[in-house]
């Protein structure tokens, strides 16, 4: 029996020829490093077919020159010695594609940021020579990464939600021309006056559902049982009151909201208390307001623990209140005002309209008709009369465990749906093709549920615009070496590896994100990544350290 082993430097196809381009970066590199010495060094390398010195590789004229040099049959890959991999990779991958080469056979050697800009000329040149050798060795060992079939995407969007965020996402998806299905675990999707439901009320929700009949379907009292497949071709099993149904969808949006609960502070103030939500409703219906309104944006301990963003609402509602009832005095008592993003403008307007903000490091003393706050700046007690106390909206997290298991998105310690790095992927979940919005998700950029829902729907729509391909930089299992120890299955952050019918691990290419965490940990060394194989890293290390093995 022949054992199939992962490809290594010796078993992959030898390169036909490497075209090397050395970029002077308009003097930034060429002023420190003599490019001719690099050219000579590159020519010594056996697989190098041609070497050219360029003025600036990323300008269109030089791109055209490079395309011309790449149009011969003698080269199948190229290396650019110039600036960072981050700044020019996409350009060179496109260049490779337009020149008929494989875009995975491109290597970038950073002689600008890593050499010319940091070191003195002599050291920079020495280091550039070393980096060039490392990159040439890596370039030789590159192999094409797999490109799987293009997947035809299903343009349906499945939304799982229990409140206004789901509805906003559905409206956006409908506006972008997608068929949408909303799966709601409760018996009612929309409750009037809910937070974040800007521009939504019973009448226009019903109108929307009527207008969108046939395009948007709502399934209440339904639960998602499982979600299989990859972006563009998900298969979801949904448990509805009429029995289990299977639905095909291209993208999934998780839009779970927190559920309203009673504020524990309400009992202190009795009928003089109401929540921000109730205040909004009262203001919308133009009811009369008393003279002194105090907003208490804190919990029992004086912390902003109910919701760190609650001061957003307080600031906006105070402005709203002052605009409608100029005679009313509105005061916000809080430890700290968060006015992020657009709220900065609202904060300013609110202050200009006469809202007073009083800082308090603890919970104020409550008297019959006034609150006594110890002002940390004055060091004195300040008495604030009140006729009405407005409290934070308090919400509780719904139980998301079952949903998390079905969609394979982990929960945080707090019980919220986990979000990847919010700066990089603001409205996405950990699983590709599954988008995340709603207040029950891990806190993200704090742009508010409405914008978050719209952004999730827009991202989902963008993903489904064209056909998707699987593959690229992924990990693959060489099953002959696999001992089915489950290490990869347990380590992968994305649930890509599983044990297949043969009793060996296999990695679903559609789910793999190419981090390589399974490659490094596999005790049998049965997993390899196409562009970061063990032997590639070894040869790079060897070249970096003077050619020893």
């Amino acid at each position: 029996m022949t054992v199939l082993t992962p490809p290594t430097h010796s078993s992959i196809e030898a390169p036909k020829g490497v075209a090397v381009f050395i970029c002077g970066c308009r003097g930034k590199v060429s002023s420190k490093i003599r490019l001719e010495t690099l050219l000579e060094e590159a020519l010594k390398h056996p697989s190098v077919g041609s070497v050219e010195i360029m003025e600036e590789c990323c300008c269109p004229e030089d791109m055209d020159r490079m395309r011309l040099s790449l149009s011969t049959d003698e080269v199948d890959r190229f290396l650019v010695a110039g600036c960072s991999w981050h700044s020019c990779r996409t350009k060179f991958e496109k260049l490779a594609e337009s020149s008929g080469l494989d875009s995975s056979l491109v290597e970038v050697c950073n002689i600008k940021e890593h050499c010319a800009l940091v070191h003195e000329p002599k050291q920079a040149e020495e280091k550039a020579m070393r980096l060039l050798k490392v990159s040439l060795a890596r370039c030789d060992s590159l192999q094409p990464t797999p490109r799987l079939r293009p997947r035809t995407v299903n343009r349906t969007i499945l939304i799982i939600g229990n409140g206004s965020t789901a509805l906003t996402a559905a409206r956006e998806a409908f506006a972008l021309g997608h068929e949408t299905m909303i799966v709601c675990p409760g018996d009612e999707l929309f409750r009037t006056g809910e937070e974040g439901a800007i521009g939504l009320d019973d009448a226009n929700v019903n109108k929307f559902l009527k207008d969108a009949e046939g395009k948007v379907t709502l399934s209440t009292s339904s639960v998602l049982r499982s979600l299989e497949g990859a972006p563009g071709e998900f298969r979801a099993v949904i448990d509805t009151p009429l029995g289990d149904t299977e639905i095909n969808a291209g993208a999934v949006i998780l839009a779970m909201d927190e559920e309203p609960a009673e504020n524990p502070l309400a009992s202190i103030f009795g009928d003089k208390a109401m929540t921000q939500e109730e205040l909004e409703r009262r203001l919308n219906s133009n009811s009369k307001m008393p003279g002194d309104v105090v907003m208490l944006a804190m919990d029992m301990k004086g912390e902003s623990a109910f919701d760190p963003m609650s001061t957003h609402e307080a600031v906006h509602n105070a402005l709203f209140l002052r605009t409608l009832n100029p005679r009313t005095r509105s005061t916000i008592i809080t430890r700290e005002v968060f006015a992020l993003g657009q709220c900065e403008a609202g904060y300013r307007k609110s202050m200009e309209a006469g809202t007073r903000i009083v800082r308090s490091d603890g919970f104020p003393e409550v008297l019959e008709d006034r609150l006594v706050v110890k002002d940390p700046v004055l060091g004195e007690d300040v008495a604030i009369p009140y006729d009405l106390v407005v409290l934070d909206n308090v919400r509780t997290l719904p139980d998301l465990e079952e949903l998390a298991r079905a969609v394979k998105v982990p929960l945080t310690a707090e019980g919220r749906l986990k979000r990847p790095n919010a700066k990089l992927k603001p409205s996405e979940s950990i699983r590709p093709g599954v988008f995340l919005c709603g207040t029950a998700g891990e806190r993200g950029l704090g742009i508010g549920p409405t914008l978050e829902a719209r952004s999730a729907a827009a991202l989902a729509s963008g993903m489904l615009r064209s056909d998707l391909t699987s593959g690229g930089e992924v990990a693959e299992v060489w099953q002959d070496l696999c001992s089915a120890c489950l290490t990869c299955v347990r380590t992968c952050p994305y649930g890509a590896p599983s044990i297949g019918v043969e009793g060996k691990a296999e990695i679903k290419m559609d789910l793999c994100q190419g981090c390589g965490v399974c490659v490094g940990i596999c005790p049998s060394k049965a997993i390899q990544m196409y562009s970061f194989r063990d032997d590639q890293i070894t040869i790079q290390l060897s070249q970096a350290l003077g050619g020893r093995r």
Partner: protein
């Protein structure tokens, strides 16, 4: 002196770029090798680098909790600790291997880590493996 920095493609590599763009100075003895994520690191690679004559090895990843792939940097830290353990067992200074966590806008942390390693290696002298081979 021979130093190797294995960086992840995200914060680690971007920080080294920014160090360059801001014209910070660090030892030119360090060679930067890019990995997709520090989670790709194998204990083997650290030991290989030492065997090939590296005086110091730095593994540069994103800040903890900020990994682009959830927890690759935490896995990497475990593997670096493992490599240190092996080095101690075979009689090499484990301080020659260090894991650094930084954000892409913290190039000074990279520069600091390189300088710290430089000072440490100067104090310890070149790798014993290097002496034997010479």
């Amino acid at each position: 002196m021979k130093l190797v920095a294995l960086t992840c493609s995200f914060c680690g590599y971007a920080a080294t770029d920014l160090a360059g763009l801001q014209g910070m100075k660090y030892s030119s003895d360090v060679t930067i090798i890019r990995l997709p994520c520090t989670g790709r690191l194998d204990v083997k690679h650290v030991l290989q680098a030492v065997r090939m004559g590296a005086d110091g090895v730095l593994v540069v990843g994103c800040l903890e909790g900020n990994c682009n792939y959830q927890y690759g940097n935490l896995e990497a830290r475990k593997r670096v600790e493992q490599a240190k353990g092996i080095m101690k067992e075979i009689g090499l200074e484990p301080e020659r291997v260090e894991m650094v966590n930084l954000a892409s806008n913290q190039p000074w942390r990279f520069v600091q880590a390189v300088e710290d390693m430089y000072v440490k290696v100067e104090r310890m002298g070149p790798s014993p493996l290097n002496k034997v081979r010479r």
